[in-house]
Symmetry: C2
């Protein structure tokens, strides 16, 4: 790339909130499927910067308020120890393929990261269930912003969901 | 409910594919967010009945074909041992709150089950990564139908995603 083009691109990237080394893609013109928000997550964290780095860094009890329409679907969930919570990271941009997240010095592909920024900003969090009262779950293990939209709740099965020997090579060898 | 009304409801439920004891809800008039299909999953199973009961019941190597548009996002994922795969169960109905899944004798709330039928039919599967070739991942641990749309790939972190002591009370005490 010529220097003039490069500096023009750098200025345009900075205006778009893209840091040096990050790669954005043009999003498809159409989407393929649609989601319902089925409730809201209440946490102590009002901004992304306030959020813990991950769900096990805080022992805050957060609440998950399921909309009354869906409440009958909770029957039986009170018998589980851990709930897999899927939620929608509604403030995240969706077009970055290579990112420089705030905690790490190096760039990585989006699918090698747990960053909220991804084509479909769905988070999966393993939470410990304290109790259910009516439509409200009390859990630990969340790290999201207050008001985050809920997409799904699932029982966590150790037999299929636990891989305690799993490794993430780049993370083990990362520079900070 | 009067007997005539009951039998009318039973006939209408049967026509809608609702089994006795299942509870359907009216879906909201609007959706709240939209998804991109970012690839396709290839498996040996062409129908839901052919699929294994869960991902650890089969050691079939399945492939995940990421669309070229998103391929740059895979950088670094080759260093992980396990990938959390989110996919869209595109053939599932979305309106059942209480279900009688094929494997179990009793009814449960949707959120106490891993059934594909749920308001947002997103599946989360913990897979073991064999290798990545270009845009294609080779993994074990999937149980979905061939052609299933892909939503997301994430590195699996044992530190936050593994809960080997998790229990599901209703499952331990279930009748078959």
């Amino acid at each position: 790339m010529a220097e003039a083009t490069k500096s023009k691109k750098a200025a345009s990237d900075a205006a778009a909130g893209i840091r040096p080394g990050e790669v954005a893609v043009e999003l498809p013109a159409r989407t393929d499927a649609s989601l319902y928000y089925i409730g809201r997550i209440r946490t102590p964290w009002k901004t992304r910067d306030e959020c813990p780095k991950n769900g096990r860094e805080s022992d805050a009890v957060c609440t998950i308020e399921v909309d009354p329409r869906w409440a009958a679907g909770l029957a039986g969930l009170e018998t589980v120890s851990h709930v897999l919570v899927l939620y929608w990271m509604h403030e995240a941009r969706r077009d970055l393929l290579v990112q420089a997240p705030r905690h790490y010095a190096e760039h990585r592909g989006t699918f090698a990261l747990r960053s909220p920024v991804r084509p479909n900003p769905i988070a999966a969090a393993v939470t410990r269930l304290q109790r259910i009262e009516g439509n409200t779950l009390y859990v630990t293990g969340l790290d999201c912003m207050d008001g985050t939209p809920l997409l799904d709740l699932k029982p966590y099965f150790a037999s299929t969901d636990a891989a305690p020997d799993a490794t993430v090579g780049w993370h083990a060898g990362r520079k900070r």
